[in-house]
């Protein structure tokens, strides 16, 4: 539909806009290049040899005179830094697994409790529903700093500080995915459920056989957004985890005081980015739907 509109528009105003259009696309392309530059930078640095890195980044990493510079592509690409990260740094694996545990723990909880709650809000009426929903919405909007002390008090009481569960449980009950999934469930026509009820379907069957399949894009959208959020979670692990062996990758800031360390730092950054990149590439449509669902007014 969009495209049809565009074609029509373009036909109507074909004259005199070529120069302006070219300029516009130039500006957009430059902006897009800036948006992507850090990714190029990381990937290119991660396959650059130690000597090359040393000579380019020396002024920053080891206090050489002059300024750092950086080519777009390395002259002698190598995978050595990746090998080093994988073979020589067991702590990297531990952090990777911590990230996996946190992210998938949170997502599993959101999948269980969140989808049910979203279904309840979207398809049933019950006393004070509006009030409950308002509480969910407000909680979704409050930044971590406001809830930080409450979070700490409850984790302390449950003995979950310095424990991955202390990060997973509050995340699993985050109200944001409920809101996203709600937007998708609410689209489902009530008449469909009514006729299924008349045919003798039970309430849980409605949820499992109608709600889940039809709302699946909403569920995936919430999961994609959740993955990107919890894979790069910083505030919570920084506050509640003291022991290094519990740290996730998202708070691992590699040391770059020598060229060989900076090579590993680049490789580690790319590896940290990689799962998020896969989710992003595979789920971009869902990501966009999720962003839009978060914005639709209640």
């Amino acid at each position: 539909m969009m495209e049809k509109k565009l074609i029509k528009k373009e036909l109507m105003e074909k004259k005199g806009i070529h120069a302006g259009k070219l300029l516009l696309w130039g500006v957009l392309a430059v902006l897009a290049a800036i948006a992507l530059y850090p990714v190029f930078f990381l990937v290119s640095g991660s396959v650059m040899g130690e000597d090359e890195l040393g000579s380019y980044l020396g002024p920053v990493v080891s206090g050489k005179e002059g300024y750092a510079e950086f080519p777009l592509l390395p002259a002698y690409p190598t995978l050595r830094h990746y090998v080093e990260v994988f073979l020589d740094s067991p702590e990297f694996f531990v952090m990777f697994w911590n990230s996996v545990k946190i992210t998938f723990g949170v997502l599993a909880g959101q999948l269980l409790a969140g989808t049910m709650a979203a279904w309840g809000f979207a398809k049933y009426d019950f006393p004070w529903k509006k009030g409950f929903f308002l509480i969910y919405m407000i909680l979704m909007l409050l930044p971590f700093q406001v809830l930080m002390l409450s979070d700490y008090l409850v984790l302390d009481r449950l003995g979950l500080t310095d424990n991955l569960w202390g990060i997973i449980l509050p995340g699993a009950f985050s109200t944001f995915p409920v809101f996203i999934m709600y937007r998708f469930f609410v689209e489902l026509p009530d008449s469909l459920l009514e006729s299924a009820r008349l045919d003798g379907a039970r309430e849980w069957q409605l949820f499992c056989y109608i709600g889940l399949p039809i709302g699946s894009s909403g569920i995936i959208a919430a999961m994609v957004l959740g993955f990107l959020e919890y894979w790069s979670l910083i505030e919570q692990p920084l506050t509640f985890l003291k022991e290094k062996r519990l740290f996730p990758l998202s708070i691992f800031l590699p040391d770059i005081t020598s060229a060989s360390q900076s090579g590993m730092a680049f490789a580690a950054s790319v590896i940290t980015f990689f799962p998020a990149l896969l989710v992003f590439l595979g789920g971009q449509d869902y990501l966009e739907q999720g962003i839009m669902a978060g914005a639709v007014k209640e």
């Binding site: 509109k5 528009k9 902006l31 009950f173």
Partner: protein, 279 residues
């Protein structure tokens, strides 16, 4: 009958028990604590509130947060609108949109590595500036740190806002445009009198979401500059972290209550304007 009435609530129950246990009850405890003394836990009235209002670090963080919000949100929203209008006219818009969304997927730790190399006093930015014959500076340890944070925020959130604007643009019926074209309205007139008014509801949501996302720049700020950054980027989250480390729970509680009340007020205010705007 009573069972049927509460039927929907059973679906909420697992989630709501978690919400109550991890958010609502502890928040109530925070409100209670905000009125208690730090040492003796006795009722202290509003003295904690008075203490944070007079606290220089608190005032600095509040000032920076307000300044940050006012500097970056208008720029982000307008830039995203311009990009969205341009992108939705082209079949290649999708590819460019992906490029703008990519920063959302890049974890802050990875970004921080790039930022450290770019904005170091001997870093890449100064190298480029030198080639242009301009003098560089130590970007993260001066007032410029603030503007780098503004840029990081825009860089990270541009794609998000473009998607929201494009959704708003796609919702405008093309019939209106055609009718206007028949009446001889030009491109710019259409934009001013059709596109903008129809985007009003999107505008409010985008403002709220951009505002809430602005609290997340702490991530980049923290990873690049640590616990005690240049004072121009000392944000609320830094302050909360420092209080947390010193066990100043009384001040944290009072500040959390103040901030949540202010945020709630702002959100409700925006929603009111938004309701009257959307009719």
């Amino acid at each position: 009958m009573a069972k049927k009435k509460w039927r929907g609530f059973f679906w909420i129950l697992p989630s709501f028990s978690g919400v109550a246990a991890f958010y609502l009850l502890p928040y109530a405890d925070v409100v209670r604590r905000s009125f208690l003394g730090a040492v003796d836990n006795r009722f202290a009235g509003i003295s904690n509130y008075q203490a944070i209002m007079g606290n220089t670090a608190f005032r600095l963080a509040v000032r920076n947060t307000i300044k940050f919000t006012l500097s970056c949100i208008p720029v982000l929203i307008l830039l995203a609108l311009a990009c969205a209008v341009a992108l939705c006219r082209s079949k290649y818009g999708g590819v460019i949109k992906s490029a703008f969304l990519m920063p959302m997927a890049l974890p802050a730790v990875s970004v921080a590595l790039v930022w450290r190399l770019l904005f170091h006093s001997q870093g890449l930015l100064n190298y480029w500036l030198e080639h242009l014959g301009l003098a560089g500076q130590d970007w993260m340890n001066g007032k410029s740190a603030f503007w780098i944070l503004v840029l990081s925020y825009i860089w990270k959130n541009l794609g998000y806002d473009i998607v929201l604007w494009m959704a708003g643009l796609a919702g405008i019926s093309e019939n209106i445009y055609e009718a206007a074209k028949v009446d001889g309205a030009g491109e710019w007139k259409c934009f001013l009198h059709i596109t903008l008014p129809n985007l009003k509801p999107s505008f409010y949501t985008i403002t709220v979401l951009s505002f809430l996302n602005s609290f997340k720049v702490f991530r980049e700020a923290y990873l690049v500059a640590g616990d005690y950054p240049h004072e121009s980027i000392y944000m609320m989250q830094h302050l909360f972290n420092n209080w947390f480390r010193n066990f100043s729970f009384d001040k944290m509680a009072a500040a959390a209550v103040v901030e949540s009340v202010v945020l709630l007020g702002l959100i409700l205010l925006l929603q009111k304007t938004w309701d009257s705007g959307a009719e």
